[in-house]
Amino acid sequence: MKIKKEKMDETIHATRTKMDHLALAYKEAPWRTQRKWVVLFLLGTISVGMVAGIYLNVTSRAALAGRKVQVLEAEIADAQRGNADLETKLAELLSTKTMLERAQAMGFVPTAPEDVDFMVIPGYFPPQSVEMASSNVSRHSPALDPRFSQSLFGWFDEKMQKAAAR
């Protein structure tokens, strides 16, 4: 009975020794652990750098676009004022007083009723009231490019739908 127990202890000891050797054999080397941490740190740093880079890129592009919007708004206002100026200038050049002076300078005189000859032109109708509405022209401002407002999910969804439609 005693002999049996000793044998069993020896077996257990042998097994433990084997396992210790095995664990030692598979234990990570210290330099390997350090490298793993360095890699993880670098990965984190690169990720943060990439996010920061993308953020900076988007921000700078947004700033440039914003600046462009401001410039375009100013140009639109300038153009509108320019149009108004030109229209008024044209009206000044064609005003009754100016036209009368020009006509008189060219030797024209007002027509007397007895000097007017009337002709009957079948099918002719004199022009009626002036039409100033340009209803066929849209005055709505162009829609903002979807790239400036679309979410990533929205973009993905659109691409998927387009792909499905093909």
Binding site: T59, A62, A63, L64, A65, G66, R67, V69, Q70, E73, D78, Q80, R81, G82, A84, D85, E87, T88, L90, A91, E92, L94, S95, T96, K97, L100, P110, T111, A112, P113, E114, V116, F118, V120, P126, S129, V130, E131, M132, A133, S134, S135, V137, R139, H140, S141, L144
Partner: protein, 583 residues
Amino acid sequence: MKQQYQWRSLLLSGLLGIISVAIIFQMVRIQTSPQAASLRDQGDMYQGEYQTIYPPRGEIYDRNGHLLAGNKTVYEVGVNLGELRNPQTIALALNVALGMDAAQVITLLTQAPASQSYAYLKDYVPADKIAELENLKDQFDAQDTGGENVPSLAGLTFKPHLARSYPENDLASNLLGFVSREDRGYYGVEEKYNDLLAGQPKLVWIPSDPNLAEQMPEVPGGSNLILTVDREIQATVENILDTTLAATGAENGTIIVMDPKTGEILAMTSSPRLDLNEFWKFNEIYPNGAEFNRAISTQYEPGSVFKVMTMATALDTGTVAPTTPFFDPGYYEIGGAYIHNWDGGAWGAQDMVGCLQHSLNVCLSWVADEVGTNNFYNYMQRFGLGRPTGIDLAGEASGRLKLPGDDDWYQVDLGTNSFGQGVAVTPIQMVMAASAVANDGKMVIPHVVKSIVTNDRQYNTPTQIAGTPISAQTARTLSEMLAQSLERGEGVAKVPGYRLVGKTGTAQIPGPGGYLEGVTNASFVGWGPIDNPQFLVYVWLEKPQTSEWASQVAAPVFQRIVERLVVLMGIPPDSIREVVAGQ
């Protein structure tokens, strides 16, 4: 040893903890302090600004699309105080270019509070003056060596904006009105349609940070108006009025030309006129605001042109017919007073056409008496007298028609009213009333706006009938009577080839102690051609000097206007129209 480190660690942690809490506490305290709010406000000032975007004021065109009121770029001149280098140079430049007081400019620039970043100097500066200043600024910039006392216009800024401009200057000024520096319309169309023309201003946040820049919200411009006025007719009428005033020595004058079928005003003018680009001279020219447009705002006793309404009433009620005889003894007693003719004479046997032709007060007083008080005043009210016509112009007066029952009405008023004395009307009221006779009994409301163009849509204003005070038959009969009386007369209101209708009116002018001696109001109302009236002309001359009689001063004006109207409106003579109608 281990114990020693433990104590040190605890002490250090405690200290750092206390410092952290103190820092956080201080941060919260600073963030919530009143000074922080003030600093935040100051910071917000540089983040951008709220700007009220005023849409461009709507333009006004004549019926053929000629611009009568538009917009023009003007500039606000100011100084960015942060960039200011030499206040003396700026003061001198503004003194030379804009006539500003140099000392005042220097004071404004040097004594501005530290918190002020911009100094306003002048607004509504025209573009040519700004070009001069910009040129000067460029020259100084080119010569700038960066020294201390170098001449420099650095900081001087010009902010452009639109302001009202009238390319025709004083043309149709009485009718258009004007726009003040506060962008508010005064008088005429500008005031009546101010809300439509001005549009809806919007308060918009304009960020300085381009990251926050957004598309500006669309601010729809004011509506454009197309008037019924014809620029050529208006200019012609104004020219005739100016020459008439010079020739007759009349104190003032008013002329209205209207399409009697639609109520469209083709021309409307009164003296004096105002160059609308110099509206600040308003107070010099018009001591009384009601004189800006006498055609609608000044009421007067019209005199014998009123007989048209009296005769229309009598014909419509069947009281008289064109051939009804009347013996004129030279006076007519009514309400205990005697009515006399304009010449004080007795004209003997007449018919109704003769009464109109010779403009007999005695006859028309008898006619009104025969019509009856109630009938007479009912008809006068149906003709729209004593209340505004509703013309779409600001500042219309209502006139005064005394009615039986009023404290100041007496029976004699029936007699005097019949020939246009003792009743106050505006020229536009007379035009509207006369339109009933010219337009087969249908009285039209006069209007000056033909179309409103808004959001790319054009809305045309329809003809509005104010009522039918008389029948079509009465209107035609009376037109024929007036045409005959005009033809039988001396002919100063005749135009060869065209059969016209007209009536003169010479009225005494009431003063503080009764009627004034030797001065009159001379009027004329007429229309044509009789078979298809296309124009109705009203002329009013105040206190003409060459003659006190309308037949001598007002009737020729009607003739001159019609001579031009038939050409400008392309109205063929009666003979041609008859041929065309017969085809």
